[in-house]
Symmetry: D3
Subunit: 273 residues, 6 copies
């Protein structure tokens, strides 16, 4: 395909040399920016669960996009920390303030727009980042004149979650069946299923249920250390690598479709008039 | 009811005198903070459409709560402006930056927590505020130690919208059937139905459809001046005051239920451990 | 008069539709930005006393300007909160930090200058805002290249205050004869004259007397909760609606003259060279 | 006098050694913080005119206070720059933004309050600083819990100016009769009277006259490079060292009285309740 | 050794589960925070050269420390981006502003101090970060009350560099013999020696020579795109994996000694009195 | 020399009148910005030791440059305060936060670049400023497009220090032989040699030795109040005015050479491409 410099040596931006970046055709390149968190994930999952999820999905999506040959997908260095104040009571959690998080994202995209890239996809793996990402996307559109797409991956696959997950309502929250299944599939070690106990906090209101399949319409920041002893919200004990593979495959499929559509848009669709 | 100082002279906080505020029983008082926007709403609706919507819903909800006698609801002065960078190309739009907006909200709630109030409900009437409100709610929970509830009203009544609204998918976006109907119901003048023309911008991707009933899972900041000539996204021509009343009544009903549940929670449910 | 689109449907900017704003002749339009406060005003006045004062004066001034036909005056949505840290000990007071307040004002005027308006008048109703408004006016002149006018209304009518008010020196301070009289004139309810007791705090120094007629030359931030039991500084017991009408009329007269002179200046007088 | 460690070796804080500062009796010590500007002062005065004025007044006031023996006055290092955006078009002007200026003042007073000083007097010599100083005084009272006094020196001596100055109304503005006279008295060189020409810019409105004796009630930021060719506003040609001495003596007299009153107040009068 | 929970499952903090972090003995644990950069490194090295260097040195140092058994070393998630404004003209460079970078570091260490860790070592791999790291270390000591150690690795091994490196003076600058040798040793792919050409920019002054062995005493920010065509400063053509191993081994040796000394200090040596 | 307006009336920028600044040939003018600190310097030196050192070196360097006739050197008003959090426990210390300090420096240089100056030399006299100055120099190069030179004076004269100073290693730290000698030479009063006692704190690690001649490669922020009783680190008892003269002369010599080289560079060497 004319204009697309393929194959690229690595889909990780950071592993490229600058002349290789220079050669990327801006009109046919999408940069995926994974965003995760370093925060407690119960007694059984590592601190980087959200980060590993977002990064792995980004790399697999990039591979799929690049294999399809309709454009190039490059993965920017993962923003490993997120905004996780509600988890700070658990040792190991690292949380950025709203302003630091937003400034960090703006500086990153600001650098990349100086290199004339304009197709961006924030791939988010942590619920607590959703607000700051949406707000920052508007900020970027205003300050940099470029609209980035933002997605939290599980919102793309509610149908799959509905069929694959067996937890009761409220059971897909944090360090839960879905996240545990994904980590079982994605990483060779670090998951301790012996500690993967069910912990379903009472719903504070009927409007605030935390569930990846059908989230409640009202946000009320949790304090995990108040509402859960282990840090888990859900039932990770029913997690399996099989379920994880189904979730990952579904997410990569949708993300690849999304990246494809974003690559098919015109430059004007991303630029402020 | 012991502990609840009722009736209050006005449900608008700003109209009270300080000894009246002092007398409010913190354990049985919820403060509703409406948040709107000053931004273009097509050729037919005033700039303060979102603000008027949020404020009116707040006042009616407060009345309903106070009538029920299970607690007191007070409405704080409306935050009339929102984050509306995507509307700035239209004369009259006033947009706050993410940081200003967030700082403003934190200063307001910070003042009120100094007076020992702890039950808060952000009632949002503008889609562009959703991100910054969610991010700020987390910020407030961290900086002030209190979790405020956040709701964008239409997310509470997707079922009603589904039955009452007749626009095709993608038709409930901005200055649309829903918003126009509500303004026809809520205000005696200012709506110019002669100018209420349909304008349905093409969907950029299959994942980003703007529709209050079933919003797409991906955010891609619009530039309204690029994507719509009048500023409208949807079909306001089918709006009626009748439909507006149905929407408002449904929203007030749900908001009242929500406020009731929030009043029934314990103080510890709002405080960081 | 050629170039002036009159009459306008409403003098409240927020009630206009964007094509109506678009039609305003920038060379003959002045935007009045009222700035108030939500803070304790003794046992007898509502929290929004300063806000109501500034907003009412702005609306009446706009009406007078528009009636005169030499230009159009539009009132932007009132900034209802001010910087009131010295009142925070009293329940109900909401205070913005200096930075939030200044950023808010800059964002508002920054949005309006994007729409090519350049004649602005900040109409202030709260003494605690005077410093931040003056500093922000300089900031706006530098960052936006436009000089806004700033006035605290009582400084325009010291002569009237001298003849109409009967309080002893030091008696026109806060929730005092002047403010109470104005509220008696401006609002139908909310003033509790039974609680309007005299409270004259001792002067800390001979240079720092608080009096709207002849303020002392030195500023020394008060702590109202330390220096006044009720929050009042002055003698509201002698207030009457009559006096309030005299004050309001005098202020509207001067403000209208000021707005007229500002409308008669050239564009270059507002723009940085 | 018990409790007052006198005489001090130098009234300049910066020239003391830390044990000397440690020995100062906090209850009987006032710290004077001069604030000036580095900005154009016409063809005939140096850039540091405002700074030299404020610093000299501070040092002479401190000497007078210390000679009186009722307490100790110490002069903190002068804040030599001010907020002077309206003078930036003239070479040599250095202007701080509102935020930098305010943060600088807060950091200085914040350091000194850590050493348990609580009596502060900001002595301002530049009109453009008045707003940010007033706003920052409120900020300091809130953030540090201490109320600092703020004075712009000429506001203390309007009576003297009225009798000593001969310029017509509007003639005491910038690099004018008063400032030039003071510099002729205060410094041995640097004033070039051959270039001290009269330059009286037209008044933009009848409400905005700049005159140290009777300032207009409305602020409208000047752009000096637009409104004056030399940078002067007033008639410096009638300045004399004699007049300067009269002004300085009057200002030092009032400042000394003010410092004396501030030293006589109780600690509680400066601390937030 | 009593009190030291060894062995740990992984020396990467992010791979641990929160109970594992909880179990770490704060008195015997040091957290190493690698800091790198995403910036051009000539035609032959990847963008993440500095990041890979800092991270690899951190991991190897942690392994050595943990093997020695005198304490535990844990490596926090690498700060992959640095302050690289002088490289932004080259595609791929991502640069954080001073404030974002500093805030990010403060938020990270602030989170970890909440978990009661107090021994920190910033391990820096990018020259452009040295200033902000030193400034932020002071900031952390003030804001968090904990003094972190800061080191840029090559400053530890000037002796080794002097013996192993063969470049002329000025030849150890950027993407040079040292950095290229290290990457040849540390990574299996990504280095393109065919493009590793010598490029020695003229010295601007005799005081500003950039050389890792004997840096000049004066800083003058480079603009690499002005001063180098390829982005290289030095002679990478003489780099070998062997030299790289020598450099890495020397650095890990010194870093291990440093970490050991830091582990041997008392808690009070890190805490502000 | 054509193009150089010499002699200038004063080498202090603040003492010039704006037409004199206007007349300076930007291509042949260097602005020296001294940066100091107000902080404890033991029992025997004044608070402004670092400030006096930097300012005096700047003035003497400017005199030497101006005498040489190859260009003009002008000294900007000294930044008297620095970042000194590690000294705040001693009365009299005034410390700016990193952000305030950096903003202040950026505002100053930003004002001067508006007047089209582009050759700047930050002359630093306080070790605690080194980080923020280096970081800010990068920030200035990015935000203002001009690279300023930065030097801490003692780094220019390590050879002289090695021969003139007699303190053991670790003895040149703070209020030490070097600083005391310099002050004995530079000021007529203020040094109290009777209190100039030796105080050598133990080295925390072998990598962190504080010594102006051969500083350790690792930074670990001191807390002086924890590590020294008097605030001194070193042996000031062996200081003499003679040694001070040798140090000052050596520093002025090197600074003059540096300024000369900076004046000889082309404009493009300072501007960002």
């Amino acid at each position: 395909m004319p204009g697309i410099a393929m194959p690229i040596r690595s889909c990780r931006l950071a592993e490229l040399r600058w002349p290789e970046v220079s050669a990327l055709d801006r009109d046919h390149t999408i940069i995926i920016q994974p965003v995760g968190a370093i925060e407690q994930h119960g007694h059984h999952l590592p601190l980087d669960t959200d980060t590993a999820g977002a990064e792995q999905l980004a790399l697999r999506t990039a591979d799929a996009v690049n294999a399809a040959g309709k454009g190039v997908a490059v993965v920017a260095p993962t923003v490993v920390w997120g905004t996780s104040p509600h988890h700070l009571a658990y040792p190991g959690t690292i949380s950025l303030s709203m302003k630091t998080m937003s400034d960090l994202l703006v500086d990153i995209i600001g650098s990349l727009t100086r290199h004339r890239f304009y197709r961006f996809l924030f791939l988010n793996g942590h619920g607590g980042n959703a607000g700051v990402l949406a707000a920052t996307a508007l900020r970027i559109s205003e300050e940099l004149g470029i609209s980035p797409a933002v997605v939290t991956y599980w919102n793309l696959i509610r149908d799959t979650l509905g069929t694959v997950m067996t937890s009761e309502r409220g059971g897909l929250g944090h360090a839960c069946e879905m996240e545990t299944s994904m980590q079982l599939h994605l990483r060779c070690e670090g998951v301790d299923m012996a500690e993967a106990g069910k912990s379903l906090p009472r719903d504070l209101t009927t409007f605030t249920t935390l569930d990846f399949r059908t989230p409640g319409p009202v946000m009320l920041p949790w304090d995990f250390s108040r509402d859960s002893k282990t840090g888990t919200m859900g039932d990770p004990s029913v997690a399996t690598a099989e379920k994880g593979r189904a979730v990952v495959d579904a997410a990569v499929g949708r993300l690849t479709a999304l990246a494809g559509e974003l690559l098919a848009l015109g430059e004007a669709d991303f630029r402020k008039a």
